[in-house]
């Protein structure tokens, strides 16, 4: 007696169809699960046995073999509990049919037959949709999340009994639906507002540019000058997340199991700020049971790295390729996975070890060697991927006291949205969506300078001794500044402003170092 139930496995963030085949034959009682299951899958045996028994079903005495096909792919997690249990019921004839081709089942079982929340429900729904499967049975806690995919009937169940009742036409489960528009319609922002930040007009402007063009950004300033405060407000001015983006983000968060209960979609851009003791693997993703890392959790959002040089050198270097490609491919013995990782890198650092190098009133106690070492922790190639570098000054007492109303995030966001729209329109044929992603070939095409602009860039390179790597960065940032003004051409002023955001390329950086002393 053989039965076939459809379920779903996950590689990276994409789901794939798993056929759960159950065969029960006469022989010594045994229960085997084959098909490269992980430990959680092996343990499903005990949960299934108890759940069936406690739900009033009969657990067959005989030789039970469960195969999870395709048998060559690794399967992890507890999602297979429900299909295995149903497979056994079907194989023993307790169900009217032995095969449910148009339905997919996912869910973890508890010993009393309840169905419990799983990770990756949205991915399963997307997989069902792609494979043309009509019904998706899943835990009730995951219903909101999966119901976002309208093409699939999401049938949430609390216990195995409910599914049995539905399949035997005793009591139907209602199709669960959510209204995507109302999800996005919620304009209330959960992020803190820029109007809380007094002063710092220059940094705010720089962050607005970063948000408009998707430029990676580095803030340098003494301890307590407000770097973290500013950073937390950046996601609030990023352009609104689109439905497609939101789906992708939700898939990643769903697999990682960090989706809050009852949430259906991630409708806000993620903001991730891992501590600097983070390991390479938790940053990029991977591990024995592969999980997306922080750079993927920050997909379409902001990855904030506070105390940038304190991160281990290798952790910083592993970000280089994902920053460039927008995805990270993790190769392990078992599999090679790809997680998307398009994020805005926002880093913050002190100018030196003691932190007071740029502080006028308080002396820095670092030796030159220490300063060089501290700056040297951030490699050239990584710095190369950061378009905007700004110095954050200490906040003045008058500013703290000032009652002047600062601009709110919503206002800034409006401008950012407009600047992004121009970019989306311009790059619609090139598979990129922001100025930061411009490859050198397109820079030549879209960042044309007029003669005045060329002249100022040339003299800036000569007089301010900018490094060569600054060149393309300046062009990209000036493109964004021009877009913010809805200007078709990049003019002299746009270039000049972009040059202001190359603090680290200026040779005097660190006040006591290389200032002008040339012969």
């Amino acid at each position: 007696m053989l039965s076939k139930i459809t379920s779903c496995g996950i590689i990276g963030i994409e789901g794939f169809i798993v056929a759960v085949e159950t065969d029960i034959s006469n022989g010594l009682p045994a229960f085997d699960i084959v098909g490269l299951g992980g430990i959680a899958v092996k343990e499903a045996k005990e949960r299934v046995r108890a759940a069936l028994k406690n739900s009033g079903f009969e657990f067959p005495l005989g030789r039970i073999t469960v195969n999870l096909a395709p048998a060559s792919l690794k399967k992890e997690g507890s999602t297979y509990d429900l299909p295995i249990a149903l497979g056994i019921l079907a194989a023993t004839g307790q169900f009217p049919l032995r095969e449910y081709k148009d339905s997919m089942f996912v869910g973890e079982l508890s010993l009393d037959g309840q169905i419990k929340r799983i990770n990756g429900a949205l991915n399963a729904a997307a997989c069902a949709c792609e494979s043309g499967i009509k019904n998706l049975f899943l835990p009730i806690q995951n219903a909101d999340e999966a119901a976002v995919i309208n093409e699939v009937n999401v049938l949430p169940a609390e216990s195995i009994k409910e599914i049995f009742d539905h399949l035997t036409n005793r009591k139907a489960i209602d199709v669960h639906q959510v209204d995507v528009d109302t999800l996005f319609g919620d304009s209330h922002s959960e992020y803190e507002d820029f109007s809380d930040v007094k002063g710092q007009a220059n940094v705010k402007r720089a962050l607005e540019i970063a948000a408009s063009g998707g430029h990676n950004c580095l803030m340098i300033g003494s301890p307590g000058c407000g770097k973290t405060m500013l950073a937390k407000r950046l996601p609030g001015i990023l352009p609104d997340i689109t439905f497609e983006e939101s789906l992708e983000v939700t898939k990643i968060h769903s697999i990682a199991g960090i989706l809050p209960e009852g949430a259906s979609l991630v409708t806000k851009r993620p903001f991730r700020s891992p501590h600097h003791t983070i390991s390479n693997v938790s940053l990029t993703g991977g591990g024995k049971i592969p999980k997306p890392g922080e750079i993927s959790l920050a997909h379409y959002g902001v990855l904030f790295l506070d105390e940038f040089p304190e991160f281990s050198k290798s952790a910083l270097e592993v970000m280089r390729q994902p920053l460039e490609d927008g995805n990270v491919t993790i190769s392990r013995i078992n599999a090679s996975l790809t997680y998307p990782s398009v994020f805005l890198l926002l880093a913050a650092m002190n100018p030196c070890k003691c932190g007071y190098l740029l502080d006028e009133s308080r002396g820095c106690i670092c030796s030159q060697h220490e300063i060089d070492n501290y700056m040297g922790k951030i490699s050239g190639p990584l710095l190369d991927r950061i378009d905007i570098q700004i110095e954050v000054p200490n906040i003045k007492y008058e500013d703290l006291q000032s009652i002047k109303v600062e601009e709110a995030s919503a206002e800034i966001k409006k401008r950012v949205n407009e600047a992004r729209k121009i970019q989306l329109e311009r790059y619609k044929n090139f598979k990129i969506f922001s100025n930061a992603q411009l490859p050198p070939s397109l820079i030549i095409e879209f960042c044309q300078l007029d003669s005045k602009g060329k002249k100022i860039l040339e003299s800036a390179f000569k007089k301010l001794s900018l490094s060569a790597r600054a060149y393309n960065r300046i062009l990209k940032v000036s493109r964004t500044i021009a877009d913010m003004e809805k200007s078709k051409n990049i003019n002299e002023r746009h270039i000049a402003e972009a040059i202001q955001y190359r603090s680290l390329d200026r040779k005097f950086q660190g006040s006591r170092v290389k200032y002008g002393g040339s012969l």
Binding site: I495, R512, L519
Partner: protein, 369 residues
């Protein structure tokens, strides 16, 4: 090999005998050769020598090593200038504890007029500028600028002097075969071409902290006056100033912002009676040096600037106006002029490129002199 230098080099390697005693030895025995040859009873006649001193003078190891050191010194093209040589700076002979031997690269002149410029390694742009400009003027006026080739003020004093086309001397706290700090290797070559790099330390001496105060006494000893530009409260430059006072030299100090930690030393010096200097003219005046130097080159730049000013836009003039009073952070500039941040941002760079203002670390802008 110049064998007559061997006793001198040998004497300079003896680390248990102070420079003062070495000078007394030379005075007592007339020259280093006699010290080398002196017998025990003869040495006992010198009342100032302790038993330890005499032990070291009699240790054969040192005499053997001295030969190697002399050989290496000559191989490295380092001159040995003894206190009895005609090239030895006259003014240095008269301090309390002159070095009996100077190792030198470049050319020493016995009676040149020198001014020392010393200051913090962790200097501000203001300090570096002052060092460079003062050195430039002094050097135009035919004065040799002496400093220590350290980072910060020292290096820029040398730069200024070389730009001014005059002589400059660097006194090191290590052997002359070592470049410290390393990044000054090019500067060192230039100083040798335009003056000399000297040290009392034998070849191979590492730049150890205790060498530097001793080095400072040579800087002040060779100078008519010492100008201190930026020094913290406990700074090596203040040690130099102390030596200068002991040796009866003039001490000049450039005032700084009273809130800045590295102006505290110089401002204290002024309180204690050092001559306040706001430009090289003050130094010329104090030393009664007729400064027939030509400061006209500045005026030319001035007129060029005023020509530029006429062509400035309204916003640019506004920014220049408020910068006249104080150096300002970019946020404050935008606030005070009421010009929006994006325009201020670009104008400041444009003005910087025009040479009207300069940017100092921390996004602060100031007028260019």
């Amino acid at each position: 090999m110049k064998m007559d230098l061997l006793p001198w080099v040998w004497l300079s390697t003896l680390n248990k005998i102070s420079p003062k005693k070495k000078k007394q030895l030379i005075d007592f025995f007339d020259n280093a050769g006699s010290v080398w040859d002196a017998s025990l009873p003869e040495l006992r006649l010198a009342p100032f020598l302790s038993n330890k001193n005499i032990d070291q003078l009699f240790c054969k190891e040192y005499k053997k090593d001295a030969e190697k050191i002399l050989k290496r010194t000559i191989e490295n093209k380092i001159d040995v200038v003894t206190i009895q040589d005609k090239d030895y700076p006259e003014i240095l002979k008269h301090i309390y504890d002159p070095p009996i031997v100077l190792y030198a690269k470049g050319k020493l002149k016995p009676d040149e007029c020198c001014i020392g410029i010393v200051g913090s390694r962790k200097a501000t742009v203001y300090g570096l500028e002052m060092a460079e400009n003062t050195a430039f003027d002094l050097s135009k006026g035919g004065i040799t600028v002496i400093s220590g080739m350290a980072r910060g003020i020292d290096s820029h004093a040398h730069y200024g002097a070389i730009k001014g086309g005059g002589r400059t001397i660097a006194v090191l706290g290590c052997g002359l075969d070592i470049v410290y700090p390393k990044e000054n290797i090019y500067l060192m070559e230039q100083i040798i071409k335009n003056g000399a790099v000297i040290s009392e330390n034998i070849i191979g001496t590492q730049p150890l902290p205790h060498n530097f105060p001793a080095r400072n006494r040579i800087i002040s000893g060779m100078s008519k006056g010492i100008a201190v530009i930026e020094a913290g409260e406990k700074s090596g430059s203040l040690i130099t100033a102390d030596y200068a006072l002991e040796q009866g030299r003039d001490v000049f100090a450039v005032p700084g912002n009273i809130n800045r930690w590295n102006s505290k030393g110089t401002n204290n010096l002024i309180k204690e009676g050092a001559k306040l200097v706001t430009g090289s003219e003050d130094i010329f005046e104090e030393l009664n040096l007729c400064s027939n130097i030509n400061l006209e080159y500045r005026n030319i730049e001035d007129s060029a600037q005023s020509f530029m000013l006429n062509k400035l836009g309204k916003d640019e003039k506004k920014i220049l106006d408020i910068l006249r009073y104080e150096d300002l952070h970019i946020d404050t500039i935008s606030e005070k002029t009421g010009i929006s941040m994006d325009i201020v941002n670009s104008l400041l760079i444009i003005m910087e490129l025009k040479g009207l203002i300069i940017q100092v670390p921390g996004k602060v802008f100031k007028l260019k002199e």
